[in-house]
């Protein structure tokens, strides 16, 4: 661990709320609106943190603990992800497994808090969220395992510093498949459009949004911030694969951060041009992503 390892962490903490702003701005441009300010998420977080929270009498300590533990889990995940050629704060063999587990833990606490409210809508949302993530998680793990195999390393930091232009030339098809799988996982895990609509106003069709309906004030700020960080870490995986190694440390960092913004723009474009899939079709999409990842893994094994 050296001082430079703090840079990816600090960037994630400071810049991540910008990503939802960029997505919303892209969607606004597509729809011909002016849209929210880019910094809207920061304003929301500021406002929510100064509010008080209202707790229902039917809820227990689980409901209050959920957002905090969820944020803690995703903060841990942030420390595992490298950016550019800067290694992550914590790196050890097989840390990508811990990464997937931490994202799972975050979801677990959100689901527990949702179920704790006793609202039937929240139960439905929790059920769907768990179902879809159970399908998305194998895709994520197999995709990361394929990358680990290609880079001959088990740690996220070394994997992403080694995957470079040479790999793309040698095993291009494999990496393209992994990339597609990762993008689908990114969209599904962050409840973006082909899977879930973050702007929906009907509780019946919500997945993620309905689970956090009963949270308010600082709790909701934690959830919003956690969601932004989650988008950041998953986008960092995609960016880590694509951004080429220029040889200069700081140029890499600048490229990577602009890559993150580019991912946000792409998510915004996807949301603008696609309709949401029917709930019945979503499992097919996620299993398809898993199949692509598994195919990449098999092709990568036999070179």
């Amino acid at each position: 661990m050296n001082a430079l390892s703090f840079i990816p962490l600090l960037l994630a903490l400071v810049v991540s709320p910008l990503l939802p702003g960029i997505i919303n701005r892209t969607k606004a441009v597509f729809a011909g609106r002016r849209g929210q300010p880019l910094l809207q998420t920061y304003f929301d977080l500021w406002k929510l943190l100064h509010k008080g929270a209202v707790y229902s009498r039917t809820t227990t300590w689980l409901f209050r603990a959920g957002p905090m533990l969820g944020l803690a889990a995703v903060l841990m995940a942030v420390t595992l992800v490298p950016l550019g050629n800067f290694p992550a704060l914590i790196a050890f063999p097989a840390d990508f497994f811990l990464f997937a587990c931490l994202l799972g833990l975050m979801r677990f606490f959100t689901v527990l808090a949702a179920l704790d409210t006793g609202s039937s809508f929240e139960g439905m949302g929790a059920s769907r969220e768990v179902f879809f993530s159970a399908l998305a998680e194998p895709a994520l793990l197999v995709a990361l395992a394929t990358l680990a195999r290609q880079a001959q390393s088990l740690s996220l930091s070394t994997i992403f510093s080694r995957v470079s232009g040479g790999h793309w030339l040698q095993a291009g098809p494999v990496l393209v498949l992994v990339l597609i799988a990762l993008v689908v996982v990114l969209l599904a895990e962050n409840s973006r459009i082909p899977v879930d609509d973050p702007n929906t106003h009907l509780e019946l069709t919500m997945i993620h949004e309905v689970m956090v309906l009963d949270h308010g004030g600082p709790d909701f700020a934690f959830i919003l911030y956690g969601a932004a960080l989650k988008l950041w870490v998953l986008a960092a995986l995609v960016v880590g694969m694509v951004v080429p190694d220029t040889g200069t440390l700081w140029l890499n960092l600048i490229l990577s951060v602009s890559g993150m913004f580019a991912v946000a723009v792409i998510v915004g474009v996807v949301e603008s041009v696609m309709a949401r899939l029917r709930l019945l079709i979503v499992p097919q999409l996620l299993v398809g992503a898993g199949a692509l990842a598994a195919m990449a893994f098999l092709l990568g094994l036999n070179k």
């Binding site: 291009g172 097919q284 299993v287 398809g288 199949a291 598994a294 195919m295 098999l298 092709l299 036999n302």
Partner: protein, 213 residues
């Protein structure tokens, strides 16, 4: 090498798409696309010693698999008034997962089989065997006669892939013979589909069981 691998990946992708696809029209289009991609395979795989035979084989394959078969199958769909849904015995998600398992088995098998040195790519044999198994799976897991024809075509594409990979050794005559067989088979099946449909008002082959005494 890279171009060959790209084609093989496309073949696997089209097979997976077929396993997960719920519409007959799109299935036919995917099989046609697979045929066209495979038609390019002999040219790409033997780029260094390109001869007229490979060019003729490529043109013939693209013409038959990419144009004649789809036209014929679409005609069968129209004449027999087939519904657009696939109606599988095995669900789409299960089919897709089975496809991944079949792919893993194909790779495992090909590691244990002795392979000739001249194969154009190390992925060629596994992908060929995967196509054969995927075709078989499509034949047994779909109700409609039309989907079974598609499965048969995928199976033949697997045989073709393997043949092209070995082309310097094996005679292209064999390949041409197989192509002719398949052509006749699809032709006969197309007519049969039409006749089954006229007799029984549908082409669900599972109902044919009730014909036996």
């Amino acid at each position: 090498m890279i171009a060959t691998n790209l084609i093989l990946v496309l073949v696997v992708l089209t097979n997976l798409k077929l396993l997960g696809s719920s519409r007959i029209g799109s299935s036919i289009r995917v099989v046609a696309a697979q045929g066209v991609v495979l038609g390019l395979l002999p040219v790409v795989a033997h780029m260094d010693d390109l001869s007229l035979r490979f060019a003729v084989l490529a043109v013939g394959t693209v013409a038959i698999k990419g144009i004649v078969f789809p036209w014929f199958l679409f005609r069968a769909v129209r004449e027999a008034d087939v519904a657009r849904e696939v109606e599988p015995y095995v669900g789409y998600v299960t089919s897709l997962l089975s496809g991944v398992v079949i792919l893993a088995i194909s790779f495992w098998m090909c590691q244990r089989l002795p392979m000739p040195e001249t194969l154009a790519s190390s992925w060629l044999a596994p992908v060929a065997i995967f196509s054969i198994f995927a075709g078989l799976f499509l034949i047994v897991s779909r109700k409609r006669a039309l989907n079974q024809v598609l499965g048969f075509l995928v199976l033949e594409n697997g045989v073709y892939t393997f043949g092209v990979g070995l082309a310097p050794q094996s005679s292209l005559l064999v390949e041409a013979g197989v192509l002719l067989d398949v052509f006749v088979a699809v032709f006969v099946m197309g007519i049969t589909i039409f006749h089954i449909n006229r007799e029984f008002d549908h082409i669900n082959t599972d109902k044919l069981n009730t014909l036996k005494d």
